[in-house]
Structures are given as structure tokens and as C-alpha cells.
């Protein structure tokens, strides 16, 4: 290959600027048929009055037979600490995290 050919073919290849987290490589778990008997984590992101909303959600989930565990991020402005994420993953089958404003 001459240097000129090499240059031209290189122009048809771009370098991926992203994190290369290929979309949908990691398939989601199937949705459960029922939440009865499952443990659901509720993550409070520490926005004001988010707890009122989550209290109500908890009542609905418990009425449907789920066990609820509550978690709280130190601040809504930063990602959940890695230990908290592990704790949720280890102790729950389902998690509900929502942004409120």
C-alpha cells in the first residue's frame, strides 16, 4: 500500500469519541410477572418533599405484597456513592429511582 492509499483509507475510519458503552449490549432483566414477595428499593435523591412522594409509593407497593427498603443519596446534585449503589443491588430485586422537581 502506498502512503497515499493509506492516508485515503484512514479518512474513511473515524475514532469513536464516546465511552464506547455499546447500546443494548447488556440486556435488561425481564419484567417480573408480579412484585409480590419481591424486595423493592426506593432511592430518595434528597430533593425537598421527595419523601412524601416515596411514602405514598411505598404504601402502594406494600399493598401489592412487596417488601420495601428505603435509601437516600446524600445530595441530589451528585451521583449516588458507589457503596450505596452496591448496597441497593445486593439487597433488592427491583429499584425505583426517580427525579423530582
Amino acid at each position: 500500500m502506498s502512503t497515499r492509499d493509506s492516508e485515503q483509507s484512514a479518512n474513511r475510519v473515524l475514532l469513536d469519541p464516546t465511552s464506547e458503552r455499546a447500546p443494548a449490549l447488556r440486556a435488561r432483566l425481564p419484567r417480573p410477572q408480579s412484585i409480590s414477595g419481591l424486595t423493592v428499593g426506593l432511592l430518595d435523591i434528597s430533593k425537598p418533599r421527595g419523601d412524601l412522594f416515596l411514602d405514598r409509593i411505598e404504601q402502594h407497593l406494600v399493598a401489592r405484597g412487596a417488601t420495601v427498603k428505603r435509601f437516600r443519596k446524600p445530595t441530589f446534585t451528585k451521583p449516588a456513592p458507589i457503596d450505596l449503589r452496591r448496597q441497593i443491588a445486593a439487597s433488592c430485586q427491583l429499584v425505583i429511582e426517580a427525579l423530582a422537581d
Binding site: 502512503t3 497515499r4 493509506s6 492516508e7 484512514a10 479518512n11 474513511r12 475510519v13 473515524l14 475514532l15 469513536d16 469519541p17 464516546t18 465511552s19 464506547e20 458503552r21 445530595t75 441530589f76 446534585t77 451528585k78 451521583p79 427525579l99 422537581d101
Partner: protein, 478 residues
């Protein structure tokens, strides 16, 4: 000259096209009779005639030895280069080879010609051929009919403007702008918390339109953005209209051609716009921070494409911002501030510092809301014609800052919820106290802008402190 000549090897790089190489061809023949000499020809293996010549028309050897000029003669000891001479210079060749009376009848000195490895038509392809293994990013091959610019849009890599396609050649050129290793991790970028290498920053800098000499500024900005103090995650996710604002101090401003003067916050200067844009593209592409996803801004602002400028240090009556923040004078730094769009402060009549400080104060009072205080920082960008008023009166920057803080002590009864018939405001328990608009250190002063116009500007911040974002300065290293 203690070693025996027999233990040494010599390599000469030449090309037929070069008149100096033709001139020294007899000298090479003479040296070949005394020394272990390999002659390498870049363009014609029959040149020089009557000598065994190694064919380097594919330029592998020339690239490997980083030859920039022909003729170049290397002296190797045990296979390791210990010296080289460039062009024809009788004295240097004699010193290199230990052979006297070289090139009788030739002039003492002739410059060489450019090596084919630096031929502008060949160099980019050569760099890709020889150095592509330094690059670890996933290769995205384009379909035959796919337009490169449209391909970047289609893959979601752009901020809404076209990007420069990040080819291997362009990214390798960009990496020449830093001494840091391409695979070194610069920062962990929110919101996806991805380890971002120098290479990924370089790819996004290419896309933003940066030149290689801007890369160190972009790298420092990415590092600063991803600190816990600056908290780019929260700044990205907030509904408020703020984004990272980059302020560059130090000699690098001039070296890379940054604008600190006319239209300082506006369009038109490549370094300003592309450095700011490169940071935003890193956040978007590497961190995964995209509007409508983690970026929840109600309005955003046009500066979220790019908001980067330099301070006018030379024209300022005061030390620059970086020195206020603790840098040694003359250090190259980039300071990140979580800022909204700039807002003009017009005062064309004040000629004494007290009057102008009062003008600033009444404008600063309105930041985000005249009844909100302490929660937000602000950059006060003072234009040259305003700065001259303080400079002529002998006011230091600290004096101005202190006066502004004095003028911005606000009775709580004006600020509490319901006061003035406005529900927005501070909680009732502030009613009987005096509340400062800014916390100490919350007002950052920079000097910039064009030389004509009695104007200054304010750039309001997002929520300050550990819950929000604090200005972060980083030294720019090569």
C-alpha cells in the same frame, strides 16, 4: 574519541532529489571506504551511484529514525545513536566520523533539504501508518457513500454544529500537542463516570476544531470540571441555565492566540471557541451528558456550546484572577466557573470609583433575583474603560471587592418571603439580620473586553458551596 572506529556504525540518509545529497555523494563514497557506513536512499535506490544503497522508498527507516532533513548522518555505538549531523558541514562531519580532509573542493557548508517524511503530502499518511497502534479507541468505519460530517450527526456525537471528523491522522496530530501518554486517564467523567483518556480528549478536541497546541488547556479543563468541588454532574443536571465557563490566565493565552479583548465573550477566535467546545463535547460524548437526558436545564444558554475566554492581564491595573486564586504570577492556568450567560452593566457617566462601585453593586444585587442572597457566586468582568477609573484612583482589587461587599449588605426585611409583595425570598428568620448578597470569596473579578465602551459584565453562578459548584483552577501543563 577514545573508542576504536571499528566499533562504530554510521548511517547516512539521502535522496537523489536533494542537491546537497548529490554534492556529498563523493564524500559518502570516501567514508564507505574507511567506515562501516550504510547509505539509505529515500527516493532512488540507485543513488548515490557505485555504492551499496538500502532502499527506503517506503520511508520506514527514515520515520523510525525521525529524519527531518537530508543528508543526515548518524553515528551509532552498539546499535544506539550517539550523535547526528544534518546537511553538509565539513567540520561537523569530520568531528562525527574522525576522518580528516573530507570533501576536498566542496564548499565548507551547505544546508540540507527536507526529508520526504516531512513532505506535507506524505506526512499525515505516514503518521497514521507508523503510529496508529498508539490509538485504542474503537474504529468506526464509514460506509462508502456516507458523508463524514453527517456520520457524526447520525451517531449523536455533535452539539448541534458540524464537527471535524476525528480521523486517525487528525487525532495523532492532536496528540502531538501534549507530552502525556495517549492512554493516560485524565479524569472520571460524569454523569456516566467513565474513565477518560488523553486520547478520548484528543478525539473530542479534534471534533471541536482545536489545534494541537490547545490540547493542554482542554486537558486541564477536563480535569478541573471532573473534580468533586466543581461538580460537573450537578451543573449538568440542574434545571438552572448554567454551564462551565473557562477563564485562561498566563503566557499561554498569547501563545495560542486567545482573545481577551474586543468581543471577548463572542464569536470569532478559534482558540476561545474550540477549547470551550471541546470540554462540552467530552462531557457529552465521554460522560454521556446530553440535554433532555441528565442535562435537565430549563433554558440552558448559548454558552453551553462553548464559553471560554482569556483575561486581559497586560492592560489590567490589577493582578489576574489566577493570582487571586493562589497561582504564582506567570503560571498558565484555566479556571472553571459554573456560569450563566454574561449580562451587561452599563455606566457611561461614573468617573470616580465610589460611583462606579455603587453602579456595580445595584446590578449585582439583582443576580438571579434581587431577593435571593448568599447562594450564588458571580464573575464581575470589568472592561478596560471601567478598570481605568479604579486604576487612576489607586483602588486595588481588594479595595473594590471590599467596597462591593459593604454595599451588598442587605437588610433581611427586604429579602424575606412576602417582602415587597413577592413570595420569592429568604425564610422568615432572616428578617432581623443583615444578609450579604455574596459570601466572602463569592465575587470573582477579571479584566477583559474591548478598549472602547464604559461597560462591564456579570456572569452569575449556579448554587455555590459543597452542595453545588465551586470555582476550580488547574495549572496547564504540557
Amino acid at each position: 574519541m577514545t573508542e576504536a572506529p571499528a566499533r562504530r556504525q554510521f548511517i547516512a540518509f539521502v535522496k537523489r532529489e536533494c542537491p546537497t545529497c548529490t554534492l556529498v555523494a563523493p564524500v559518502l563514497a570516501e567514508l564507505a571506504s574507511h567506515l562501516d557506513l550504510t547509505v539509505i536512499s529515500q527516493d532512488d535506490p540507485t543513488f548515490p551511484p557505485n555504492l551499496p544503497v538500502t532502499d527506503d522508498t517506503n520511508l520506514d527507516l527514515s520515520w523510525q529514525h525521525r529524519i527531518e532533513t537530508v543528508p543526515t548522518v548518524l553515528r551509532l555505538r552498539d546499535g544506539v545513536e550517539e550523535q547526528r549531523v544534518i546537511g553538509w558541514h565539513r567540520e561537523e562531519w569530520t568531528q562525527l566520523t574522525g576522518v580528516r580532509d573530507l570533501g576536498a573542493g566542496l564548499p565548507d557548508w551547505r544546508p540540507g533539504c527536507g526529508s520526504r517524511t516531512v513532505d506535507p503530502a506524505l506526512a499525515p499518511g505516514l503518521r497514521v501508518r507508523f503510529e496508529r497502534s498508539r490509538l485504542h479507541a474503537r474504529r468506526v468505519e464509514l460506509a462508502a457513500l456516507e458523508d463524514e460530517v453527517e456520520a457524526a450527526f447520525a451517531r449523536g456525537w455533535t452539539d448541534g454544529l458540524p464537527v471535524v471528523p476525528p480521523t486517525e491522522g487528525r487525532v495523532l496530530d492532536m496528540l502531538e500537542g501534549t507530552r502525556r501518554d495517549a492512554s493516560e486517564v485524565v479524569a472520571v467523567v460524569p454523569p456516566d463516570l467513565v474513565e477518560c483518556t488523553v486520547e478520548k480528549v484528543a478525539i473530542n478536541a479534534v471534533m471541536a476544531g482545536c489545534k494541537p497546541e490547545y490540547l493542554p488547556v482542554v486537558l486541564a479543563a477536563v480535569e478541573a470540571a471532573c473534580t468533586d468541588e466543581f461538580n460537573i454532574h450537578g451543573l449538568l443536571a440542574t434545571t438552572m441555565p448554567a454551564g462551565p465557563v473557562l477563564i485562561v490566565n498566563g503566557p499561554i493565552r498569547r501563545e495560542i492566540g486567545m482573545n481577551s479583548g474586543i468581543n471577548v465573550f463572542g464569536q470569532g477566535k478559534r482558540a476561545n471557541v474550540t477549547i470551550g467546545r471541546a470540554l462540552q463535547l467530552v462531557i457529552r460524548n465521554v460522560g454521556g451528558g446530553r440535554p433532555g437526558e441528565v442535562d435537565r436545564a430549563t433554558f440552558g444558554n448559548p454558552g453551553k456550546i462553548a464559553f471560554c475566554f482569556a483575561e486581559d492581564e497586560e492592560g489590567s491595573p490589577w493582578p489576574p484572577l489566577a493570582v487571586d486564586l493562589g497561582a504564582q504570577p506567570g503560571t498558565n492556568t484555566v479556571t472553571l466557573f459554573p456560569g450563566e450567560a454574561p449580562r451587561s452593566i452599563v455606566d457611561q457617566l461614573s468617573r470616580d470609583p465610589e460611583s462606579l462601585a455603587r453602579s456595580f453593586a445595584v446590578n449585582l444585587r439583582t443576580l438571579h433575583h434581587p431577593k435571593l442572597a448568599m447562594a450564588f457566586d458571580c464573575i464581575l468582568a470589568i472592561g478596560p474603560e471601567h478598570a481605568r477609573v479604579f486604576g487612576a484612583a489607586g483602588w486595588s482589587k481588594a479595595q473594590l471587592t471590599n467596597r462591593l461587599h459593604e454595599l451588598l449588605q442587605i437588610p433581611g426585611e427586604e429579602l424575606v418571603r412576602g417582602a415587597g409583595g413577592i413570595a420569592e425570598g429568604l425564610p422568615e428568620h432572616f428578617r432581623d439580620v443583615v444578609v450579604p448578597k455574596f459570601h466572602p470569596g463569592g465575587l470573582l473579578i477579571v479584566h477583559c473586553g474591548g478598549g472602547a465602551g464604559l461597560f462591564s459584565a456579570m456572569i452569575g453562578g449556579w448554587v455555590n458551596g459543597p452542595m453545588g459548584s465551586q470555582p476550580v483552577m488547574k495549572e496547564i501543563t504540557s
